[in-house]
Symmetry: D2
Subunit: 289 residues, 4 copies
Amino acid sequence: MCRFIVYTGHPVLLHDILVKPTNSLVCQSMHARETDQTLNGDGFGLGWYEHSIDNSPGLFRSTQPAWNNLNLVSLTGKIKSTSFFAHVRAASQGGVANDNCHPFMFKNILFMHNGTIYGFQKIKRQIRRILDDDIYDWVKGQTDSEHFFALFIQTLRENNLTTKNMDSFYNNLVLTINRLRALLKEHNAEALAYLNIAITDGERTLVCRYVTDPKAEASTLHYAVGDKFVYEHAAGHMYPVKDKPGAVLVSSEKLTDYNFEWHMVTQNYCILIEEDLTTTLKEMDNCIN
Amino acid sequence: MCRFIVYTGHPVLLHDILVKPTNSLVCQSMHARETDQTLNGDGFGLGWYEHSIDNSPGLFRSTQPAWNNLNLVSLTGKIKSTSFFAHVRAASQGGVANDNCHPFMFKNILFMHNGTIYGFQKIKRQIRRILDDDIYDWVKGQTDSEHFFALFIQTLRENNLTTKNMDSFYNNLVLTINRLRALLKEHNAEALAYLNIAITDGERTLVCRYVTDPKAEASTLHYAVGDKFVYEHAAGHMYPVKDKPGAVLVSSEKLTDYNFEWHMVTQNYCILIEEDLTTTLKEMDNCIN
Amino acid sequence: MCRFIVYTGHPVLLHDILVKPTNSLVCQSMHARETDQTLNGDGFGLGWYEHSIDNSPGLFRSTQPAWNNLNLVSLTGKIKSTSFFAHVRAASQGGVANDNCHPFMFKNILFMHNGTIYGFQKIKRQIRRILDDDIYDWVKGQTDSEHFFALFIQTLRENNLTTKNMDSFYNNLVLTINRLRALLKEHNAEALAYLNIAITDGERTLVCRYVTDPKAEASTLHYAVGDKFVYEHAAGHMYPVKDKPGAVLVSSEKLTDYNFEWHMVTQNYCILIEEDLTTTLKEMDNCIN
Amino acid sequence: MCRFIVYTGHPVLLHDILVKPTNSLVCQSMHARETDQTLNGDGFGLGWYEHSIDNSPGLFRSTQPAWNNLNLVSLTGKIKSTSFFAHVRAASQGGVANDNCHPFMFKNILFMHNGTIYGFQKIKRQIRRILDDDIYDWVKGQTDSEHFFALFIQTLRENNLTTKNMDSFYNNLVLTINRLRALLKEHNAEALAYLNIAITDGERTLVCRYVTDPKAEASTLHYAVGDKFVYEHAAGHMYPVKDKPGAVLVSSEKLTDYNFEWHMVTQNYCILIEEDLTTTLKEMDNCIN
């Protein structure tokens, strides 16, 4: 079902979040704790912003498992970032290929997904038909995830919405989910879709824990807000907020054994992280019609 | 521009054709002789039939260059086949990915291409729109080549044609090329397309040397018909035909320095190889309207 | 701890043993059943004999996990063999690299190992020092396994032993294990070594389930002897022997749920498979001094 | 014969040196200009220092050719460094494997090599025998290059020399070359060795253009010293020095078409780059005995 991590806040060494913690993403690639599908060995991806250079993220993706990739270990030990996404994959829709690894990047926007859109094969053509030529050509892989992201970008454009304003950004996510649901219904496709999704433009970030059927249980999603995330004394810690938050982590699994640091995102809620790290949890009721 | 080799005939060790000759396909991956684009290092592919097992070919493709792939060297030393395709790639349309490596396989049919369809980006969506759902979903990559092959399969189905009859098989190739040309014209796309193409169902094989503009020069294509192809005394040889042919090779480049063994396929001709190895050269005049 | 499969007998489609069974080696790469270390995702290897061509085996190894390697699936569907080895790896000693994947090949001999030689780092140099130049240069990787195999070859040569005679072949395995134990002792290295080992020259095969400390429990090892192994009605079966055996399987794990078909090799026993498939279990008492 | 680039100076975006110039290292991987062996497609490597984090370099190596590695393109667009090494490989000694890709890293020291030690196979064991256990175990691959580097580290240790002092650093290079030459002589190995070598500790850097036989012609090696290297108006330029140098490039090939910016290192000279970028050319006469 894949696992992912979102970080935004003070510059942090990627290694301290992705490799070192007790239940780091690298650990989750071998032995995820909070899902039956413990193995996420069908590739990984890392996207990070370096705003001192430009607004588009760096991207490092590979079909080699995260746990035995020496380049990943070395890179994360030399890169600090204020905003990054990382993902380990268990392939469901779409084969094992670099182009099917998350995160996906469209210009300055990163996207990743944990879950499955069960009726996807029935609406894949319909999604592609909607897309403008440039977005159509941008799609390189076969996953439901990348197609959902393409639909997100298309919807953004059609509605003159933007990621630069949180309301607009969030509304576009809701519109895209509704559009997906309408397509599934129209084509008599299975309506069940697990949509733990993360999107960022490097400044504002959305992460939702969503499932189309309220009776189904969404995949786990946790967040931790604090002053800073520090790896010390052989363990990672999120320090408590002082005046205002300095670091926000959103992760499929708790990275540390300090449960008090972590909060489960309520099912069908979205976490909205502003540029100043103000973090809001919002019930996604407009999607549930 | 890619390079390819087609073999059909007596069972032959793949190594003797793909690795050992002076100008083997492995050599052509580093230093092709008969093209300006000497480097074909963006992956390779091998498809071969083992009719004692079933009718669908085996497929071995990788983005690693052919010249340093130890698996390729070992495999070809243990496999004999009566019909195989092999290809080394210089990427033009579509990135470097396993799904973009030739040959492509649809059920029991193999396809490979050396050339470029220059207006492809303008008609990619139109080609996909024509495809039946199963053929649409079968397409995994981004190349002009795979899309042309999808159109070939679609055309075969729409016209109730078959590869099991050489006239029907050949007619379908002509219909597909004409359909491509019509699409390019309709969408005001650049009409120039280099189409050195090989297709086989493991029994009958077509290889054409075709370019849409008669003023352009098609990529090289040679053939050799003989009793058998043998590697001995440190060189490959096609032995002369005795009663009837026992081996046919069609190759982007001459594999040996024995020029007398090789014949250039005339531009805009197609070579038709029957199951009994009867080989006919046919002018593709119906395509040039 | 790695998992492996040995087959010798009637020609069999590799796919029917490595891919199709309920608990095939491909399944074991993701979710091994009979070990705590369920994940064997650090590469795989396949070595098979094609005696109609020559005596040296074909070799296909990759660091990509077995479960998502399309080439592996396709190849095994087209190759039949009377003798093959296959292995999925969980790296312990030596990094994740093609040169560290099993089986290892020296001329016509294949070798694979499931286990760990705990004191290996202390005696690695000493092993290498013993080797003749050609064997020294043949070693390419960093594993305890490959070094043990090099010592086996060196010992064979020094004692004028051969794999062509089963007594000689078996004695050499015992000599090599004793030599290893002596080296470990001499250099005050940890003496514990898990040595589930398979060696073949394509005609005669040895597979042992051995651990240096009789109080430790060796890794599992099963065998099945029968008329032929057939995949039918969605399950693999070893048919009972009629007159004389036609197929022998030795495997880290039972491939099927039909327990009656499988026998556990007793700890510190070696299974000796002659060219005519006569199979003997021999207690390795000479090693336990 | 491989190609490499050394940079030290003001922080520079790696992309501006490795990807963008007319004759960038990525270009040289396909079509090197200043050597007969134009293809360097057997892997690449990148090592860079990020002193704000620590003193050990980041390392990114792959056997995929540099010209089609999207990760390399993306990474270099997000990393600035004051000191980095990059290398594209044409394999001579040692197979195509990540462990055989340059640069090699020992603690905080990077090393790369363009050339061949022809008698290497005869002295490989002798070199290894000299090494301390930790250095012995550090060697992972099969190349003459990595073994030379191991000998360099061993020699540094035996003589209490250091890279932190330029005389000491340089003397150790000379001692290592002499030791190599003595070994070659002692073992009647071919004495010819092409040693274009670069070594850095992230602060001080040595690059030599050396060949053991003064009648042989060393591989090309150029340097450019300036205020800064800038990519602008679709071309890279080394700006002239103002008061004191701000950037030093040493490269197998000229990166730009502006010949006046580049100087050929004289054969059997070494370029010594101090931490303040003071650059000295020194004749390596002590090596030529």
